[in-house]
Amino acid sequence: MDLFDKLQILTGAAKYDVACTSSGVDKKSSQGGIGSAAACGICHSFSADGRCISLLKVLMTNICIYDCKYCVNRRTNDIKRAAFTPRELAELTISFYRRNYIEGLFLSSGVIKNPDYTCELMIEALSILRSQYNFSGYIHAKAIPGADNALLTRLGLLADRMSVNIELPSQESLQLLAPDKSKHSILSPMRHIQNKITEKTSDVIRYKHAPKFAPAGQSTQMIIGATAETDYQILNLTESLYKKYNLKRVFFSAYVPVSESSLLPSIGSKPNLLREHRLYQADWMLRYYGFSALEILDEKHQSLNPYIDPKCNWALNHLELFPVDVNKADYESLLRVPGIGPTSAKRIITARRTTRLSFDDLKKLGVVLKRAEYFITYRGKTTLGVKISQDSILRSLMSDKELSLLSLNGYKQLSFFDGDIEGVVKKCLTGKT
């Protein structure tokens, strides 16, 4: 088997993993070395599905002794298997990196022989990169659940970011679909990594040259739509991962059917991109807009509204807080206006120091008013001059297509899979929020 075959197999097996951002560390190459990592992520290309390519995302091997039902690499699946040697992988990474194809490496693996052995192979590949090639570029390594803590520590010292996939949003689902994994085997390496990161951070403060343990922090990924968890459960879990485990990012990945199992959506059913998209928007609200999970959804409202983004949705349910006066409101209140993000909010605050902002000024500042206009006033006026009502706003925020869907199906009962949802998805994916 040549390198082309291996690359094809091991890329194909890794591509459903979403965590391909390379941000969060800022460092220079060492003397005589190669590579740097820029604090704001760099996309080196975009694949034909529109996703950012920043790292060489491959598996060490797709051979696996486990049998997780949602995974292409599961033992019982009849597919071609391959494995890189650590040296091959290191050389491939360097060849790509020198040509500026990539920002670094994202390495994950199936479990070959046992978790420890797998982890050692990964460590060897990363060691060649770090010590023989003096590579300072970005490396994201997946921790192998079940591997020895000492090995995880070594891996973490070589990597910039580490992650453990939480895979499925609840213990029940894990038991059902990944019988070899338990919540414990996932959360315990997560805790170990978290402890190491804090420990090493204080080391670094004490001794300037202590090697950093995964300086870009820890992230995780969960599969959405393979099991029955609601958006409410998922968001709560996400929030607690940020709080309790100090994760940098939680990634969602709409389940792409890879096997026929009565426990899973059947092959050929489309991945629910709209739901994934809405969850990312809600995640954004948690991380950048100062919302808590309970403000977004609660016991009574378990699903995100498929038609409008969750921030709009929140605003519509809190009309008593609007409109907000752009010439007076503080940063936090501006951030809560649909259509206004951190950049626009900062610009508004800067610009209004020298002038009282009018509607045209806002346009010049690049504030997208399509949504915001319903929720703001300037110099005491709203842009519309009409009394706002929930219904009328909702109508103006949606396209005709969405409106017809709404009247056809009755908004509440609409499930994601109903009708021609494609148009809606497209609009949501292209409409910036």
């Binding site: 040549d2 390198l3 082309f4 690359l7 094809q8 890329t11 194909g12 591509k15 459903y16 220079k28 190459s29 005589g32 070395g33 190669i34 590579g35 740097s36 820029a38 704001c40 760099i42 996309c43 080196h44 290309s45 975009f46 694949s47 034909a48 599905d49 529109g50 996703r51 950012c52 390519i53 920043s54 060489l56 995302k57 491939l92 060849s95 790509f96 020198r98 040509r99 500026n100 194809y101 920002e103 792409v256 489309k270 991945p271 991109l273 610009r347 800067t350 610009a351 120091r353 020298t354 002038t355 902002l357 045209d360 000024d361 010049k364 500042l365 994916l429 292209t430």
Partner: protein
């Protein structure tokens, strides 16, 4: 002082030259109605040629951070690199405003001049950021070479990033639009004017790596999520021309491998 005077300034296009226009206007209390670099279009307004004199330009340059702050200075330097067709005149007017309003100038986003330049600089920064990712090098006997066709003058803004990333390499990035090149050898970088850059054919090793990259690129797509519109909005087509993953010929395994496979 009348708002506009019946005069146009012409200069050599250099940053220093532009600063000398500012000097002249201040010195002579004139307010030109335009600033141009070549006198091709005939006009009825008299054109005054401003000589570049580094003594004058340095005095102006030193005054900028003092009078309107470091951010404004940085901003003016960036504005000079943009591809806005009337950037010289806008920079000139920006500086007039800056002398008048001081540091507040950077917050006057609702002003037409400030706003136009902000947008132009934003486009420059955006293009710079994209190119940090989209530039593709090829290895020619140990020397890395890349070609780009940007809208703005991005090389000065890219230099730091690539020199820091590849400190031990010899590399060149050729900007075909502006006919400039960033040339680096350890540990020395230079930006020079260059009419053309002719590259040799890629050797087998280079072709293999290109092929591997193209294979990776094609394989990483999740077909059930295909969305070429989204790809294009993130990565406008004008960049594709110089990107390995879109080059036609290279999508081949090396010949020997090809033969081996057929034989199997």
């Amino acid at each position: 002082m009348p708002d506009r005077e019946n005069i146009i300034y012409q200069f050599d296009g250099s940053f220093d030259g532009l600063m000398c226009c500012v000097f002249e206007s201040y010195d002579k209390k004139e307010f030109p109605s335009d600033i141009i670099t070549d006198n091709a279009q005939c006009s009825f307004v008299p054109v005054k040629y401003i000589e570049t004199d580094t003594y004058k330009s340095e005095r102006v340059i030193r005054s900028i951070p003092k009078r309107m702050g470091h951010n404004a200075f940085e901003f003016i330097r960036n504005a000079y690199l943009t591809c806005h067709p009337e950037k010289y005149y806008f920079i000139f007017r920006f500086m007039q405003l800056g002398y008048k309003h001081g540091e507040r100038i950077m917050g006057m986003l609702a002003d037409e001049v400030v706003n136009t330049l902000f947008k132009a600089v934003k486009a420059l920064n955006n293009e710079t950021h994209l190119l940090k990712g989209f530039i593709r090098f090829s290895d020619y006997d140990g020397v890395l070479a890349a070609v780009i066709e940007p809208k703005n003058i991005v090389l000065p803004k890219l230099a730091h990033h690539f020199c820091e990333r590849f400190p031990e390499e010899n590399f060149i990035i050729y900007d075909k639009t502006n006919k400039m090149a960033l040339v680096y050898k350890p540990y020395n970088a230079e930006i020079i004017y260059m009419d053309d850059l002719i590259l040799p054919d890629a050797d087998d090793k280079e072709k293999t790596i290109r092929g591997l990259w193209k294979l990776f690129y094609d394989t990483i797509e999740i077909k059930s999520r295909h969305n070429s519109k989204c790809r294009q909005s993130h990565m406008p087509k004008r960049y594709w021309k110089h990107m390995t993953e879109f080059s036609e010929i290279e999508n081949k395994r090396p010949l020997i491998e090809e033969i081996k496979r057929i034989g199997e």
